[in-house]
Symmetry: C2
């Protein structure tokens, strides 16, 4: 080795040892004939010291050529520091350098390699290898490593087998857009990259693997938003001979294990809520339950007062922003403007202010006397000092708008703490959703999700929107971190499902014939789940964006700015693949 | 859960318990009013028993509808068996069935789900999910899981961090052919799938990650041989501030850890051999060292006897097949024909038989008297009973041919035992090899491999074939299981290397500018290695082919026979990608 110790290793107990360290120059200070060098590596920072009066003049001269990010090797004696630095683990000692070698000089980095950097997004993406040097970013990836480790420890301990499924698979029309790979050996044909190993893990159940998992890259060629990547990682799991309840317990166990081992947090039992309740109480299938502020529906108490805005609305629904009665008129106007922005899209915002003195004041006083307002306020258990915010309109829209407002109020009131974690199971999702544009039904989860047995008759009667699925999502702090379902494992039901989704029998056979065939050779009941691993890491890291939990992310145009990819390829390559571009 | 226990769990201690098991019907026997069912799952086999006289008639009737591979749930009481089966772990008990449910019936599988199956390759690939049910195949994948687990345990314990590198990267002209992925968002441009995460792991070293690993899928669009797959898995590793010796020790440690934990074998220290010695002694850079039979070069003792075949040859080289003097003339003729096959390509085979009575007989007696033959035999330390086999010709060809013959003799003599494991480091590979056809130099390992410092001057003088690399391969039982090198970490040397490989400065910058730039911002000395994980698993499993250590392999045309991929895609997909096929 080029070193005897790392830069995070030496302590007072090592004093008088001769050591060799390697690392990056974090900073050089030259003060009154004494040169201090902070030497950095992944493990920490150690202070090197050279003294004009006692050190070799060649070494001193060389130390004076150093600047930030030079890679050096330094030999010297460990000495106890006079003025200790209790901010770093090695702060009690320093190295009296006797020899110094520059292993590689460094140009000045284009931005500061510090927790707070002066580099913008683009430059940090281009020089990602320098951005990764910053503690904050590297720690995210160390957290990710630990999350993966602990995931494996938990699942291995539960008899799961990790099996690698193929990356070069087959394009299917259902779901998101596939990335495809032209096959040179089979001209005119293409592989697709998996959006998930769904069918393969189901086949592994048919094979009797019983408990499968994989931490696996998946791919979706969709337009990117700030927080989506064309390639992402899943913790993908499947179990045989289980019911929904078994999955909930097993994977609640995983999440609690991760919180315990990675963050030393004792996560209590994860509460459960139906999709219907989540929509009714939070207007969202992924409610942030770090705070209450549940929706209260007001049709029964707010209609019939000749207030046309209320009377004509399908739904009148509100939240109680406790303690916000002090909001000024200006603040309320601003909040009204906020909900009217196109991103939220509400027509307006009604409110009832429950003043400290017990009086009530609303934005619709013309139609409601104090008793009628009190009647509404009671539905919220409102107290003096509270502010009730009300949205009206078409039910689904009003709920969605009020969800936005609730989250905004939660943020404004500091109720969404990044170091607090609230997990939730959302259950009983609808099996199908109707695509207005395409005029057909789509699988809400995917076509392999099983309807609840008691709702299967509804598949026949055509009341498809009412069919509930044995599907579940895990939500943490308002973010969906995982989801799954009990699967269909019998050919006739799977075939019926494809029919409902508009597949002809021939199409279904062509795309998923292998799976339906497999169901005829002894397929066990099975169920599974997949967690978004990038997202899970970012939540554990208390961050909003997944990007800094991925070593080499792509930008919003799907470009890797560092390696400048995608790029054109040689004509020869295209000729071999028998493709051409049509621009 | 649908079961209380697995099929591998119950013992005599569980007698009298009421249990519920789930699994596949391995076999049903109906004998004298008693029905025996072997119920199988991943964990084992448990015998179920029903008695016409004591069991419920409905249950009996249902049991009689069962056949192979039905998935059932059975409830009953654990009873001690009268006639125990010591071949299975549950052989002391059986389940007296009181209730039975068919969870899913099964059609008759197209081949036997047994260790020895009657299914040919094609049918087993098409119904891979059934082939995976066979113990032998599933155990291979369980071995693979354990290998991955133990690899991670070892590397985690050595402070390595697993980092995921991207799958959508950039096509580069060096190396094998890339799979490419058209980019919809960047029309006319393509991603490539990685042949290895080489540049990314080097960048992680520049980032200061210090010790990186990843068990990672890689891709090569090459014509497939029996034992190559378009997608394969590597254990990919890199370390900073190390020399070659550190890598050898660290990863010898990994291999020994794997042998110990997975196979309970104490692998001794791994011997080392230079590439030059490997070629001289075995005619191969991946010698099978489970047996000796080293080459002996005979030019000094075999030339000058007026035997034109010897005198005109560049190299006369032989092996001693100990104890084979009894080979008949017929056997020797057959062996001669064997080396003359096009796969080997020798012109002929000369031999010296060291008879039991101490006399010597050769195929070239006309030119050599007994003393001259004895002179040759002495170079092999041959004894009565030995057979010396000699190949002549152009040196490289003769060595390659004799390597084939040596391996063949090793196999014939039973010296290549599948349960014996001999590892070897091969060191000091040439940095470059000359491509006659292309009339240029190629990197033997890859363009990032560092020459030995003492050989760097040779890069200038142009004696490029003599430049040795700091590169190393690990060989087990004659198979290369891993290889790596100390890397170039300074821009000027990297640039010089690209120049030697025929890159213009512009091309080098376009393809690898990001890496050369990175070298200027403080790149540490670093080195790494990658193991072929599929291959490593197959060697641990004592098998020749990697295919049965991959859950869903592709055939020799790169097809997944099960899902029938690759396949054509919709015109709409091609339109969106702005590509078309040109057949």
């Amino acid at each position: 080795m080029l070193r005897t110790h790392t830069c995070g290793q030496l302590r007072v107990a090592d004093v008088n040892q001769t050591v060799t360290l390697c690392g990056w120059v974090q900073v050089v200070r030259d003060k009154g004939g004494i040169i201090y060098i902070d030497l950095r590596d992944r493990y920490g920072i150690t202070q090197l010291i050279l003294n004009e009066n006692s050190s070799d003049t060649d070494v001193i001269a060389q130390a004076r050529t150093l600047s930030r990010e030079f890679v050096i090797q330094a030999m010297g004696e460990v000495v106890e520091r006079v003025s200790k630095n209790d901010k770093i683990a090695t702060g009690d000692i320093e190295i009296k350098v006797s020899a110094l070698e520059i292993l590689n000089p460094a140009k000045l980095p284009p931005f500061l390699i510090q927790d707070e950097t002066d580099g913008g997004d683009d430059i940090r993406m281009k020089y990602r290898y320098l951005d990764l040097r910053r503690n904050v970013v590297r720690q995210n990836l160390q957290l990710r490593h630990k999350m993966a480790q602990q995931t494996r420890i938990y699942l291995d301990g539960q008899d799961f087998i990790e099996v690698e499924t193929p990356v070069l698979i087959k394009s299917t029309p259902e779901g998101a857009r596939d990335f495809v790979v032209p096959s040179r050996m089979n001209p005119g044909e293409f592989y697709a990259l998996p959006q998930s190993p769904q069918t393969f893990k189901q086949l592994l159940m048919v094979s009797g693997f019983d408990r499968y998992y994989q931490i696996v890259k998946c791919f979706r060629d969709e337009d990117l938003r700030a927080d989506r990547q064309p390639e992402f990682t899943q913790i993908d799991c499947e179990m045989s001979f289980v019911k929904q309840e078994d999955i909930l317990q097993m994977f609640e166990g995983l999440i609690r294990h991760l919180f315990k081992t990675v963050k030393n947090i004792d996560m209590p039992e994860v509460p459960r809520m139906t999709y219907a309740d989540a929509m009714r109480l939070y207007g969202s299938d992924k409610p942030d339950t770090r705070f209450g502020m549940e929706f209260v529906e007001l049709n029964d108490v707010a209609k019939g007062k000749d207030f046309v805005v209320f009377d004509s609305a399908e739904l009148i629904v509100g939240i109680n922003a406790a303690g916000c009665a002090e909001y000024t008129r200006k603040q309320l106007d601003e909040l009204t403007e906020w909900v009217k922005r196109p991103q939220v899209g509400a027509k307006g915002l009604a409110y009832i202010r429950f003043n400290a003195d017990g009086t009530l004041k609303s934005s619709f006083d013309k139609f409601f006397d104090e008793a009628a307002l009190k009647n509404i306020a009671d539905k919220f258990d409102a107290k003096p000092g509270d502010l009730i915010l009300i949205i009206v309109g078409e039910a689904n829209k009003a709920r969605k708008q009020l969800n936005d407002l609730r989250l905004e109020m939660g943020s404004r009131l500091g109720l969404r703490k990044p170091d607090e974690f609230k997990a939730l199971w959302v259950l009983d999702f609808p099996l199908l959703e109707y695509g207005e544009e395409e005029d057909r039904w789509f699988a809400m989860h995917h076509p392999f999700t099983s309807p609840k047995p008691e709702d299967i008759p509804l598949l026949e009667t055509g009341d498809l929107g009412k069919v509930r699925a044995n599907a579940y999502d895990m939500v943490i702090n308002g973010t969906e971190v995982g989801g799954g379902s009990v699967r269909i494992f019998q050919r006739p039901l799977q075939q019926q499902m494809f029919g409902i989704l508009g597949f002809t029998e021939e199409e279904a056979k062509k795309q998923f014939g292998f799976l339906m065939d497999a169901f005829e050779f002894g397929a066990p009941p099975h169920a599974g789940i997949a967690f978004g691993f990038d997202r899970l890491c970012s939540i554990f890291g208390g961050a909003d964006s997944i990007r800094d939990f991925i070593a080499f992310p792509k930008n919003n145009s799907g470009r890797d700015m560092m390696i400048d990819s995608p790029s054109t390829i040689d004509q020869k390559q295209m000729d071999e693949l028998k493709i051409k571009t049509v621009l």
